[in-house]
Amino acid sequence: MISFPKHLYTDVRIEEIVDTRIRFKRKKLREQKTRRNKGAFIRVFDGERWYYGAVTDLGKLQSHVDELAAMATPVEGIEEHPVVKALEANERKEIRFEKDSVTKIPLEKKRGLLEEVLAFADDEAIVNTDAFYVDNRTMKKFFSSKGADLTFDKETTGIGITLDIAHGENKDRMSTSKAKSRFKDLKDAKGYFAEEIEKDVDFVKRAMPVEGGEHPVLFSPLATGVFTHESFGHKSEADFMIGDETMKREWSIGKEIGPEILSIVDDGGVEGSGLTPFDEEGTAAKKTHLIKEGRLAGRLHSALTSASLQEEPTGNARAVDFTFEPIVRMTTTYIEKGETPLQEIIQSMDKGYLVDTIKHGSGMSTFTIAPARAYRIENGEIKEPVKISVVTGSVFETLAHVEKLSSEFELLSFVGGGCGKMEQFPLPVGFGGPYTLVSKLKVQ
């Protein structure tokens, strides 16, 4: 039991993590382990500054709290501070994964699943494989001087596989991964890996150099997810707007920034990599429309940013782990599905490119997507695979060029990577959407 210092706001987040990692290199077992770690992050607020502590010796939590409190200046009435008022004080125990927890699945079953997936990598052009199975169960406890008392859990299980493919002079490294919240769902996704491996091998064998320039680009649900995340998602994180009148003007609610077919959502309640039942400040998950029918409809908040911008908290204060403070981050972010069948969209394209999978993306004034698999489209048909280094566009203009959204829709989760913001990487996020046609982007 923590004794909270007087006239200061204090919260404590304790994380107990059990994770498994199994790794095969060149189809030989190289690692198989289950780890248990514990740690805590403490925050003390005096109305002027925050004082943070990340510790692993939980037996001394009280002394760490006291040490941070000694750095702060107690203020009577701290509970009336707008930031403290914006913090939710939920009291709940919400355990959703215990019944079929990954911790109850024997290691042999996890290893067996990975071996089954690896068996799909049997093409002679695959010269090296690096495959891993990971799962993670995190129990979080959150207490605050405002009365919050939360216990909840989160689980992820996933497989990632990297293939070195060499076919004559054509060589490339291709990676694919998939994550689920439950082991049985991951087992059901075996076929996904078979298809991806086959497509990767075909891509490397046949890919041609690309004809650069400005072209229409059709994004798959995966690429749509990264495009959404990088081209707009980071702009919706309200910590960039604190005290910034220009940003507030530029991103005022109601402003038209895309076509009417475009709606973008962030939802911490979606199961998968981005699941955040309560954020790291104890705020419950919310579904937030960032863009609704082409107009700016909301943004992502922590308590600090919601108080500063006088908007409701959204449950987006997240940290990569117990060694970091929460900052405003996305959870599961996606474009809502459209009404045009994919086939119809492809048939409507005279020339352009399909970006099917990606290596990475980033978003500043210019966002970039580095495609892994991409294909040329001509006269309404998907043609040969092409090697594209990057697809780029302006974050200020590109959403206005969204032309068509498919009725096909998919949300995706991954392992082995995540979102990076300043020093905090990788944060698991979910993303996806429909197939998205953007009328012009720079292709290199």
């Binding site: 925050w50 692993t56 890919a207 910590d239 604190i242 500043m364 990057v390 200020f396 290199q444």
Partner: protein, 409 residues
Amino acid sequence: MKKETVLIQDTETAVKVQNSRIAAVRKKDIAKKAVRVYDKDLIGIGGAMGDIGWNTLEKSAVEDLESGIPYPHGIEGGLRDHRDYRRKSFTDEGLQMAMEKILGTLNEKFPALRFSEGLKQKETLHRMENTDGLDLEYRDAHTELFLLVKEKEGANLFDNMIVYYGRDFDVDGFLDHADRFLTAHLEKASLPEGEKVPVFFLMNDSLLGFLNRALNGEAYATGSSLLSGKLDAKIFNERITIEQNRDPEIAFTPFFDTEGVVKPCDKVELVKDGKLMNVFTDKQTASEYDLAHTGAASGGHDDVPSLSGAPLRFVPDAKNIANSLNGEPAILVSVTSGGEFTADGNYGAPVQCAYLFDGKRLLGRLPEFSIKSSLFDMLGKDYIGTFETDILPYTDKPLLQGFRMEIIR
């Protein structure tokens, strides 16, 4: 049964800045421990974060042997090497005062700009010991400044960044540098004429990343590296020498790899005078493919050591940037985010922030543009050089690297 212990202890104080003022102070004290046991060509590992007893970890490691993870290599031994690279270190109060002074000066001199992120003082201890007499210890401390710069009237999330990472952080020296850097940032300049112009980088992350893949021993041996089959062949410009460099003075990493291997002078030449001499390897890769062992094992404190990347460094080959330009205007890239190489070595990247540059001074900020080249052009006919420089003191021994590149306006 042989036994090895790994201890990593990281402490940190960070002063966090938001909206040009100090918003938070963060302290970290994180311990990571692992015990490895070796028996009958197998390895077992028990690891944890926090203050877990060595006996508990040893018990986990012995149990882990049942997983059957092969490790048919001998362990290092018979070497005691303790090194302490700590020099200047800020106290918690000193760090806050330094940040206050930096923000006070920058806010006064550059009222049109807004600053965020902050200043850190980190201290680290890495220790590896085993029953064969290996006793390695690396202690270090460094200061890390990372300030995002945003124009108050602009709609970008941020427009530029100023960084420092090293052991000799001097507040006044940094402020002089920031003054030059930010004055030039507020000055508009035009892109130099011509399709191909000299472009300088503070070491290009995409290039080092791509080389890390191409020089990886496993990728080389399996035929999937762009350089496969080219050992002993000339692959790059003859002025280029690339090392696997673990010298903590430069690399800010332990001088030993995760298998406890220490190389003479902490480095191995991979490319010498443009010729491919070695690819980097751990024990497994070296033995499996009959390659020279370079001591490049990596991984977390409780991972089985394996080969992923290595700390690569270009050896400086030139001193005077202005002489190499001979009056030709150049570009110095400050921020390029999202660039990538295709598998066959073609490179494309957007440049979000760059300066017009005469080899000595930053002459003004350029509009956004994209760059295009290929690995073999950049490190071949279009290579200008790798320079030691004090133009941008982002670390204690900074390097700038120049290539002629195609500009897409």
